[in-house]
């Protein structure tokens, strides 16, 4: 009836037909049915999902750490066991020392390159940025393998060449040392400092420096008094994040710390997760890691909210590039050196090993083979299955994570529910939980009966979604913030419900943002190790875990081949992201 009446041409008829859309009553009561919005149910469902993903694992982690494994009673015994031995305490201090050293080396790598890329006329700046990005997207455990091939004490390429050339009897370098550990860590984590610092340099308006020049400050004085203080908060923020990531990273210590005889927290945790399995001790042992993370991120917030940061964010106008003159090429050489250490050298030898029958034999036509690839892709059932699992898990967690985050971000931005701020907080909370600690929480909450998800892909997917929820949320929230609420109100006043508005207007407008966010999750999820290591079952292994297995079995050529396949996938996906989102899609970070 209504559409027919609306189709009538005379305005009288159509006005009265619009009247039928109005279902109020004379008494001033409006029927429940006409007030009901199907969206409300969705909001409640999202809140429930966040409880499952975030609240339950974290609270279960804390509860387990205080629970006696047999009696279920409250106890502090787990903490006594965890920290009662000097060896266990030493691992914690070792970890902090390693984190600090990693930060120092990261700064040495990152800051000069960031300055060169953002403020100078150095040649090859785009190349430099892409190389830094490459060092970041390549999994750190593969970097570690590359460096084992390069600087293993006996067979490492550098040592063999050194001995060949000089006739020395002792190896030149040894990756199985404290500094080896730090070098490989920093090769991956320095990228965050690079991004933060580059962004800060790009925000500085040349006029700020000109103002100091005009007042009589020379080049060096300006750098010391103006430029440096302006980028300092960014450097500190990046350094803190680098520290936090490196103390919780599992892959690099897993390959290097035991031969280096340098015990660290993550290895100790994995010992508690071995035989006999002592989840409650692992939980207790991980709590300080969690507290350190929370405290330092709080500190980072404080630093970044201070005056210095506001000045930097105050939109830079024109930037003048510093003319390096005769220092252009030396600067570029430094960038090349950093890129060689962090990316080219380790991955070159890794890829070379993938095509070798025996990796120690090096370049020779007789040594060349594709068999390793054939084996890991088609014959070795575990690695083939793991590859499929990693890609599927990456895709699933990216898709679900983005949809979930989009829903929450929408509720928060549009203030649809009282207490929506809590939902936002829950989405961002996993940011302060190291991956390996999150895994312990998920194990404690869901691995055992009654839920009994241990050994299923579901458990891994849930943990991955949670781990990358903060990325998904930031991407979604900034996307939604860019859409004027009136865009949706225009839908509603014309007769569409909220869901129609989301489907027809919000979602199409967010396509690019969402695609970018999806890739930002897929890339780390497909290679994730820290969260996976305690949650994989014997039949649900992912690529990263299979790679570790292969290294334990000493099958480095196969490892290299599988690693190369993973690299190809990652690079292809990132290249796709760059096509969709532009070169800087992973290079821009909100502080």
């Amino acid at each position: 009836m209504r559409p027919l009446a609306l189709a009538e041409d005379s305005s009288m008829t159509s006005i009265s037909s619009s009247q039928e859309a109005v279902s109020g009553t004379r008494s001033g009561r409006i029927s429940l049915a006409s007030r009901f919005q199907p969206a409300s149910l969705l909001w409640l469902a999202l809140a429930a999902v966040l409880v499952v993903l975030v609240v339950a694992p974290i609270s279960q982690l804390v509860i387990t750490s205080f629970t006696h494994p047999d009696t279920g009673a409250f106890t502090l015994q787990n903490y006594v066991e965890a920290y009662g031995r000097p060896r266990h305490v030493a691992a914690l201090f070792n970890t902090l020392k390693m984190g600090a050293a990693t930060v120092v080396l990261s700064l040495i790598f990152a800051v000069p390159v960031a300055w060169a890329c953002a403020r100078t006329d150095m040649p090859g700046r785009t190349f430099a940025r892409l190389a830094m990005l490459g060092a970041f997207i390549t999994p750190p455990y593969l970097g570690a393998v590359g460096w084992i091939l390069l600087a293993g004490p006996n067979a490492g390429w550098i040592n063999r060449i050194w001995i060949e050339l000089t006739g020395a009897t002792e190896p030149l370098v040894n990756i199985f040392t404290f500094w080896g550990l730090v070098l490989v860590m920093a090769s991956n984590t320095f990228f965050l400092i690079f991004v933060f610092t580059t962004t800060a340099f790009e925000m500085i308006n040349s006029e700020m420096e000109d103002a100091a020049n005009i007042l009589g400050a020379g080049t060096w004085k300006t750098a010391a008094k103006i430029t440096f203080p302006l980028i300092m908060p960014a450097i500190l923020g990046g350094a803190l994040l680098t520290f936090l990531i490196s103390i919780a990273l599992f892959g690099v210590p897993a390959l290097l710390s035991i031969p280096a005889r340098y015990p660290v927290v993550v290895m100790q945790l994995s010992e508690f997760f071995g035989f006999p399995l002592r989840v409650e001790v692992a939980a207790a042992y991980s709590i300080p890691l969690l507290l350190i993370t929370v405290a330092l991120l709080g500190l980072q917030r404080l630093i970044l909210s201070r005056r210095g940061y506001t000045a930097v964010s105050g939109k830079g106008g024109e930037r003048r590039m510093v003319k390096l003159g005769k220092w252009r090429w030396p600067m570029f050489a430094y960038v090349l050196l950093v890129a060689a250490i962090t990316l080219f050298l380790p991955f070159f030898v890794l890829i070379m090993a993938a095509f070798s029958k025996v990796w120690t034999s090096g370049f020779a036509l007789s040594n060349l083979t594709l068999r390793n690839f054939g084996y890991v892709l088609f014959e070795h059932s575990t690695s083939q299955k793991a590859l499929i699992a990693s890609i599927s898990l990456g895709a699933a967690s990216a898709t679900i994570g983005i949809l979930l985050a989009l829903g929450v971000a929408y509720i928060v931005q549009r203030k649809l529910l009282p207490g929506a701020g809590v939902l936002a907080f829950l989405c961002l909370a996993p940011f302060v939980i190291p991956g390996i600690v999150l895994a312990i929480g998920f194990y404690a909450a869901y691995a055992l009966p009654p839920v009994a998800l241990y050994g299923t892909y579901t458990l891994l997917a849930l943990a991955f979604i949670t781990r990358f929820l903060p990325i998904a949320f930031s991407a979604s929230a900034s996307g939604i913030r860019s859409i004027h609420p009136e865009m949706e109100e225009a839908v509603r006043i014309l007769g569409g419900g909220r869901l129609t508005a989301v489907r027809r207007v919000v979602a199409p407008l967010l396509q690019r943002t969402l695609a970018g966010g999806w890739l930002l999750i897929f890339v780390p999820a497909a290679q994730e190790l820290s969260t996976a290591i305690f949650l994989v079952g014997p039949t649900t292994r992912v690529v990263s875990v299979v790679l570790l297995d292969m290294s334990e079995e000493g099958r480095l050529e196969l490892l290299a081949a599988l690693g190369t396949v993973l690299l190809v996938i990652i690079v292809a996906v990132v290249a796709l992201g760059i096509r969709i989102m532009g070169r800087d899609f992973m290079l821009r970070r909100e502080l």
């Binding site: 209504r2 559409p3 609306l6 189709a7 305005s11 159509s14 006005i15 009265s16 619009s18 009247q19 039928e20 859309a21 109005v22 279902s23 109020g24 009553t25 004379r26 008494s27 001033g28 009561r29 409006i30 006409s34 007030r35 919005q37 004027h484 009136e486 865009m487 109100e489 225009a490 839908v491 509603r492 006043i493 014309l494 007769g495 569409g496 419900g497 129609t500 027809r504 207007v505 199409p508 407008l509």
Partner: protein, 355 residues
């Protein structure tokens, strides 16, 4: 009957009373503006009518049915209204045609029907050639027309506009005022138009509701509003004016230097001893020689200050004695030197007592 009625409408945000006790009735097909300074509650009122905000007090009725009340409100999508937003809110992911057709598709009209009606309305707003463009390829004025077409094509029960012209440049703004009125004359849609620009309201509206601090101070046709402002706020917000203070003694109002019988005023006087009247600068007559009184009031004084504004002279007339100075507008040819003696003629029928 599809009249719209606001009864005792109120809305607070925390401690801020954004809208207080608003009563307003629109007849079917009437065009009413909400006019007032920024922050006076216009948008809040309009968004309550649209259903985006629920009232804390009072009701909104459409065609005799309550659609908003503190206990329950019909959601916007069920009101059969349309709105034009300050940001236009044209969907950038749809072409002009798709934007305009959206509301019709929601109503499940047939393909041909939609094509015909969108075509008609695009011709009316002179966008017929641009149906396949995307909004990013349109100028600000064209986007405004798309918003207009999209809102009226569904033949809404009520059309709501929130400062629709404030993002346009001055020339276009003037043109669009007439466009909006022309569209209304053609389609006769009941319309509520929010603006802070009095000339915009004057050009477009059948009646104007002047709002101040969350309340409606006066609702009247534009001429009435100008000629007979009821409150001090309305008198000074609509055009410029002079305020004169008087004491009432029986049937006579006694001003500084002259008096007027109550019966000669523009509108009947309420009770009370102290009275303020408003008199427009244009309603006063100035001359260099003493004129004949002819039943009007003539005051002697001199020109205290003057300024030439192009299309008028602006004189400040200071009466002899201690009466307050008055602003007088005069035609460009009426030149009186600064400081020269002058005579002011007041027509008692132009004196408007205000509350």
């Amino acid at each position: 009957m599809t009249g719209l009625a606001l009864r005792g409408l109120g809305r607070r945000f925390g401690t801020v009373e954004a809208v207080k006790d608003v009563d307003l009735e629109l007849k079917e097909g009437e065009f009413v503006s909400l006019l007032g300074p920024s922050g006076c509650g216009k948008t809040t009122t309009l968004r309550m009518i649209a259903g985006f905000i629920e009232p804390n007090a009072g009701t909104i009725e459409l065609g005799g049915k309550v659609i908003s009340s503190p206990s329950a409100s019909l959601p916007p999508e069920k009101r059969g209204m349309s709105m034009i937003f300050q940001s236009y809110a044209i969907w950038p992911n749809m072409t002009v045609f798709e934007n305009v057709a959206f509301g019709l598709k929601l109503r499940r009209l047939g393909r041909e029907e939609i094509r015909r009606r969108v075509g008609e309305i695009l011709d009316i707003v002179q966008l017929g050639d641009l149906a396949d463009r995307y909004p990013a390829e349109l100028s600000g004025g064209q986007q405004q027309r798309v918003a207009l077409a999209r809102a009226v094509v569904i033949r809404p029960a009520v059309l709501l506009l929130d400062e629709p012209l404030s993002n346009l440049d001055a020339n276009l703004r003037e043109e669009m005022r007439f466009e909006i009125r022309r569209m209304h004359d053609e389609l006769k849609i009941t319309t509520v138009y929010v603006t802070h620009d009095q000339s915009e309201a004057m050009v477009t509206s059948d009646r104007i509701a002047v709002m101040n601090k969350g309340r409606i101070e006066q609702v009247d046709p534009p001429v009435e509003l100008y000629m007979r402002p009821r409150t001090r706020f309305v008198a000074s917000f609509i055009g410029r004016t002079n305020f004169l203070e008087a004491k009432r003694e029986r049937d006579v109002l006694v001003f500084d230097g002259f008096s007027v019988p109550v019966s000669a005023l523009a509108i009947p006087l309420a009770d009370g001893n102290a009275v303020t009247v408003s008199v427009r600068p244009h309603a006063l007559d100035l001359s260099a020689q003493q004129p004949a009184a002819n039943g009007r009031i003539v005051l002697e004084g001199k020109i205290a200050r003057r300024a030439f504004l192009g299309d008028t002279w602006n004189y400040l007339f200071a009466p002899a004695g201690n009466g307050a100075a008055l602003i007088v507008s005069a035609a460009p040819h009426k030149v009186i030197e600064d400081g020269a003696p002058a005579w002011l003629t007041i027509d008692p029928g132009q004196l408007v007592p205000i509350a």
